[in-house]
Amino acid sequence: MNKCLAFFCFCVLLGCSKNKPTDRLHETVSSQSMDYATKFNIQEDHLRVMEPWPGSSSAIEYRFENIPQRVVVTSTTHLPYLELLGLEDKLVGFVGANNIYSEKIYNRLKSGKIIEVGINGKINLELLLASQPDLVIAFDLGGESSTLDKIVEAGIPIVYNSDFLEETALGRAEWIKFFGYIFDESNLADSIFTGMVERYHQLKNLTQNVTERPSVFSGVVYGDAWFLPGGKNWSAQFIKDAGGSYVWEDNLTSGWLELSFETVLDRAREAQFWIGVASINTRAELMAQDTRYELFEAYQEQRIYNYNKRIGNNGGFDFFESAYARPDLVLADLIGILHPELLPDHPTYYFQKIP
């Protein structure tokens, strides 16, 4: 409630300053609705985030007088958008530096051009103020983060990024336009995204006529629960677009399933591919965790893949950083795994077979 009020005031403040005669930066952008993204759109003179945090029913409108010059972002998934748009030099602060894969950004952090303003998603207010940002791009999983309110109180504008609420991979990648709008690089963002969509559809068309759709499952068991994407989850869509059939594709959940080991064994024992085994790197490691993994045919046939091909020197996973912004690469990888004959010259980018 408090937060809503604070934001209301914040928006009113921004709204008031609109009438001042300033150079309008964003006048080239006409009102446009997004092609795939459903959680934000760009209006004539403002950016509108429809669902700033999960379950929020009121949209927030953002207007920008000047192009932000010193920005702090709070998730590694925000970084690839900045990089694609060539805006790394605008980044002055980041939360949780040890997760960064991007060498460029990590080097800037090491040389002190980027300050680590907190660890693991928790912003330290004093460090944040020390980095003197003129914009913080934040995400909020629950609509209750009190630190974010404090930042607003301190006079630093916050923009909520809720790209993680998108239900399609292309929708999530389209958030490059969100960053494009903020930094007045909309044309560049549009052309990057259009190219990406084109590549995605070209790849998807490759698998339109495949006769054989290999079955796929994923995940590993934690304690008594095996976490798997639901049948309407965007990773299930990837498998479908890559010409595979996801074992739970008839499921109607867009989130995640939490199943027992025996359920997964019952359904996926004869599945051909096991893609995405968390941080596991060898079949021996799988055996070390639970010898019952060997019951799966994919294990016996050695068709297990993880997404750990690109790990930074400091331990960051590129898959978790840039894959959301590059659905074309993810799809190409999956086609390369499921139908290698369709993409004979494609060495996988994120995924690798585990020995």
């Binding site: 998603g121 025996e262 024992r269 010898t291």
Partner: protein, 354 residues
């Protein structure tokens, strides 16, 4: 003649034990036949009678998942129950449980260290060829036995059991605080992994692990039956026990070692399973109306196993693909049962008033 009463009493208890044994076997069969995957009764019967399987998948599920899980449930239920019983008698306190001496917090700290700081350490272990699930087990065991060592050293110095209890609580509090610090500085995925561990799990033991687990637990259970006589003496008061020739220091030490091995091993393999150890002695005492440890110990092993099988069957939510964490089910179903028994009996002063 008094021997006549004695004989009828023996007959009564014998009937009770046979009845409980039958119930345990029945629930065992029920537990194996129910789960997230619906398996037709005929296949279950084929499996139990060791007939050649019709559908291989169902056979595998029962052989590799449900059978070890059911055996684990029996051992965990019985083991935690007797830990609770011994702690309550030792400390003469109805609120004591197997984790009262900080054992679960100790193993929690061990596991937290591995999960939160263990990336580098884990790699080291992997190079040496030790399985990762064993790293978790070893970390949990080291944590709880570290706490145990501190308690044993203290118990040699301290005469008073209550002081020991407070010491255990302090160790527990310190470990929990360290865990929070580790959690605060950790990534969401690691926090989730730790949370999954703290939910408890009966089904993650493979046959290899179960082999070692069951040997330790059965040794602990036999030791508990051996300790029952001294526990009976302790119940009547420390000075009375001493007058009966019980060496208080040795017995106290043996009880602490025994419960720590049981509770520590269970926590190491299955996570901290809450509530069970605290409630089981009360349930047994109220149901069977006895405070004789020679009877209570085997009774608790049986009824602990029975209830854990029952709770596990519920947590599998037969017919639904999802499952509930066992830790939630034990307290959710166990607490109303204890409340019901309390209301019927009106008090629990059966043991500790003089």
């Amino acid at each position: 003649m008094i021997t006549q009463y004695f004989d009828t009493s023996i007959k009564k208890w014998r009937q009770l034990f046979v009845g409980m044994g039958v119930l345990l076997i029945a629930l065992f069969a029920l537990n194996i036949s129910l789960g997230s995957v619906a398996i037709p009764l005929s296949s279950v019967i084929d499996f139990i009678l060791l007939r050649p399987p019709v559908d291989n998948s169902w056979h595998l599920i029962m052989a590799k998942f449900r059978l070890p899980k059911a055996l684990t449930a029996i051992l965990v239920g019985g083991g935690l129950g007797i830990c609770g019983l011994q702690m309550q008698t030792l400390f003469r306190n109805p609120m004591a449980g197997p984790f009262i001496l900080g054992i679960s917090s100790g193993s929690g700290l061990g596991v937290a260290l591995v999960i939160f700081l263990g990336v580098e350490a884990g790699l080291l272990f992997e190079l040496s060829g030790i399985a990762r699930s064993w790293i978790m087990v070893c970390a949990a065991a080291l944590g709880s036995f570290g706490v145990l060592l501190a308690i044993i050293l203290a118990s040699v110095r301290l005469k008073d059991s209550v002081t020991l209890l407070i010491l255990g609580l302090m160790l527990g509090a310190a470990s929990s605080a360290l865990i929070s610090v580790l959690q605060y500085f950790s990534q969401a995925t690691n926090i989730q992994a730790y949370m999954m561990w703290s939910f408890g799990s009966l089904g993650s033991l493979s046959w290899n692990e179960l082999m070692i687990f069951s040997v330790i637990i059965i040794i602990g259970m036999i030791m508990s039956i051996g300790l029952s006589k001294s526990l009976n003496a302790l119940l009547l008061g420390a000075s009375y026990a001493e007058s009966m020739g019980v060496d208080l220091k040795i017995i106290r030490l043996l009880i602490i070692i025994n419960t720590s091995i049981l509770a520590g091993t269970i926590t190491a393999f299955c996570g901290p399973i809450a509530f069970f150890g605290l409630a089981m002695p009360h349930i047994a005492r109220m149901l069977f109306n006895t405070t004789n440890h020679l009877l209570l110990t085997p009774l608790i092993i049986l009824i602990g196993g029975i209830l854990m099988l029952l709770f596990d069957t519920v947590s599998q939510l037969p017919g639904i693909e999802a499952t509930l964490p066992i830790n939630a089910v034990t307290a959710l179903l166990g607490a109303p049962f204890v409340v019901y028994l309390l209301l019927r009996k009106r008090n629990i002063h059966y043991t500790f008033d003089k």
